[in-house]
């Protein structure tokens, strides 16, 4: 006896109601190019956050599985642009894709910065799949203390 359809080797077993809802949604949009979340196109749009602390603007981008040198980060006219390409390992040795939810390919995100920053002091770090770009706020854009003098 032969199975004409491949065995369903993987079944997900959600254990709480929220996960179950997520599972059901994921099943509904089950196709090679869509994943769970808001990405319904073939383009990859990694999540971007923009924070500010006392001295810096901080931009974080969730991009797991990248190589450090694969990022292109540019700052122009107050807009920070980050792009890159994620490639999966070549050594798949004829493995068949069984389920592919992770995006592969180019991504590009830009964010308009709310404050002026010091361009040559910008630094970026990539750790655990998160790219963090720290942009020191330009001195003239920082709030200034005004001291009351004697008259």
């Amino acid at each position: 006896m032969k199975f004409t359809r491949p065995h369903l080797f993987w079944r997900r077993a959600p254990l709480d109601s929220v996960s179950r809802l997520q599972e059901e949604l994921a099943k509904l949009i089950d196709s090679p190019f869509s994943g769970f979340g808001t990405q319904f196109s073939n383009e990859w749009a990694p999540s971007l956050d923009l924070f500010e602390d006392k001295e810096n603007l901080v931009v974080q981008l969730e991009v797991p599985g990248m190589k450090r040198e694969a990022f292109e980060i540019g700052l122009h006219d107050g807009v920070l642009s980050i792009s890159g390409e994620r490639k999966f390992e070549e050594k798949r040795e004829k493995a068949t894709g069984y389920r592919t939810e992770r995006f592969e390919g180019r991504f590009q995100r830009s964010v308009a910065l709310p404050k002026a920053v010091e361009g040559d002091k910008v630094r970026a770090a990539y750790k655990d799949g998160v790219l963090t770009v720290t942009l020191p706020i330009a001195a003239q854009a920082r709030p200034k203390q005004i001291v009351v003098g004697t008259e």
């Binding site: 956050d49 500010e52 797991p64 990248m66 798949r92 799949g129």
Partner: protein
């Protein structure tokens, strides 16, 4: 992570129920079994738990609070979701559960699962 400190208040107010995020996975079938890759940005070796119960495999990735200089005062814009990652799979009984290996690098968890090797045919000695 900056986002973890923002998230903490959310999880507390929910009480018992903790909301997890579903990591995107790729599953490949290889010559000797399967390879699973899961996207878990912000998760490193310390925050990762992979456990097996019977033939149910659970992946749990906890995000680490990063040593960032000073807590963020303002969030201008936020797209990333709060929470830790969790996903559960039911395994093919052909998988040899003793031979599962896990590795995490740059926020990607890679699991290798090998199929059981079937016992080769062998001669059984007849005792007197």
């Amino acid at each position: 992570m900056n986002n973890t400190t923002q998230c903490e208040t959310k999880n507390e107010t929910r009480g018992e129920q903790v909301n997890y995020l579903l990591p995107s996975v790729n599953i490949y079938q290889t010559s000797d079994g399967y390879t699973l890759e899961a996207d878990m940005p912000g998760v490193n070796r310390d925050g990762l738990e992979v456990y097996l119960d019977q033939n149910e495999l659970t992946l749990l990735g906890r995000r680490q609070p990063s040593p960032s200089p000073g807590t963020p005062e303002t969030t201008h814009y936020r797209e990333s979701a709060c929470g830790d990652f969790r996903r559960v799979f039911e395994l093919d009984p052909e998988i040899d559960t003793d031979k599962i290996t896990a590795r995490v690098e740059n926020g990607v968890l890679t699991l290798h699962l090998a199929r059981r090797e079937h016992m080769k045919p062998r001669q059984i000695a007849i005792t007197d």
